[in-house]
Point group: C2
Chain length 198, copies 2
DNA sequence: CGATGTGAAGTATTTCACAGCT
DNA sequence: AGCTGTGAAATACTTCACATCG
């Protein structure tokens, strides 16, 4: 359901660019292939944001959703892994635009440590603790090989990171107060194969 | 639910590496934080794969799942977009390992067309049709900017591609027989922010 | 009117619990 | 005994439909 909130926000930001002042649950839902009732239920769960007879004020709802999601502020992020995926994410513009700032990078490859990547120095994973502390980091991105994922997750959790976006194809065990979202690229392709195969 | 089948497969492949001959629904579920009943219901939906009193034969179930998902064969993939994300995916090992082979790349940047990337030539998007035909491509990966995503999706669908993995932060409209899976990186981070802020 | 917010109804998904097989 | 496969029960989620408000 939070998944849908992020979609509403994305759609609303597009509407704001088109200078739309208001939007109805029907129009917003149609853009995302959802019913109007679904949209209203989702939004009503957090307050009364709409105007009967009018709809939702786009700018207002954007601010409300950002407040709900917590994206009305900056989040400092540590990137673990400076391989293919890690490098791509480091320079991924939308992260910066939406308030997710990668402020530190670690990689266990001795040949990479000390080098700079996209203006950020690559550190030894052993330095995770001070990095998290000095940069006030709350989120981490795991772009390390599957074999190193759990160990890196442990180090990040131990350093006080509260949320992880995991690109490694493995299930992570974390304390209850450390949340994990996984992006399983192979799994996504497999699902496509299944659906296409029919 | 297909989502979970891909996770079972991943876990089973890990168990096979550890030379485990059989696994029970309880053990398999525990590794993924699922109940045993959930695992059995999922698998039973496709046939009777287990042995009462014993569990599931790891190797056997791997083959069954590959057959169900359609990953017991090669899938030829076209990559659209040779930017940061596209380049990372082109050299992403697990795709090749699991049977997803990127056999063609297109990018609208004139400066990139004709160049070679990871052993694959970058083509003009106008050549999508012949590329799909000659390489027998059924799946596509969209790693283009949001502004180009719908247009590229249309071109791919028109060329006969049946499934798309979309990295652009936008909702795509496709014919009913063209399936889309989206990887919304910003959305994933927003969800983490929401849960951490909790 | 046109659109929200929301109980009630309708679906879908998950868990329970147990007969039955090895 | 141990574990599957599966109806039945329990939850969760979505849609309906309508009173209500600007």
């Amino acid at each position: 359901m939070v998944r849908r909130l992020t979609l509403y926000l994305r759609e609303l930001e597009a509407l704001a660019l088109q200078r739309e002042a208001t939007v109805s649950s029907r129009v917003l839902g149609a853009a995302l292939s959802l019913t109007d009732a679904q949209v209203r239920k989702d939004l009503a769960a957090f307050g009364q944001f709409g105007q009967p007879g009018v709809g939702y004020r786009v700018d207002d709802l954007i601010h409300r959703l950002r407040g709900i999601l917590g994206t009305d502020r900056q989040w400092n992020v540590l990137l673990a892994g400076a391989g293919n995926i890690g490098r791509a994410l480091l320079t991924y513009k939308p992260f910066e635009t939406k308030g997710f700032r990668i402020v530190a990078v670690v990689d266990s490859d001795a040949g990479k440590i000390g080098k700079s990547l996209g203006g950020v120095e690559i550190h030894d994973p052993a330095r995770i603790n001070p990095l998290v502390e000095t940069h006030d980091i709350t989120l981490g991105i795991l772009a390390v090989p599957a074999t190193a994922a759990q160990r890196t997750a442990d180090a990040l959790a131990n350093a006080g990171v509260r949320g992880l976006l995991n690109f490694a194809p493995t299930t992570l065990q974390t304390p209850d107060d450390v949340f994990v979202n996984s992006v399983d690229l192979v799994g996504q392709m497999e699902q496509l194969a299944f659906r296409v195969k029919g």
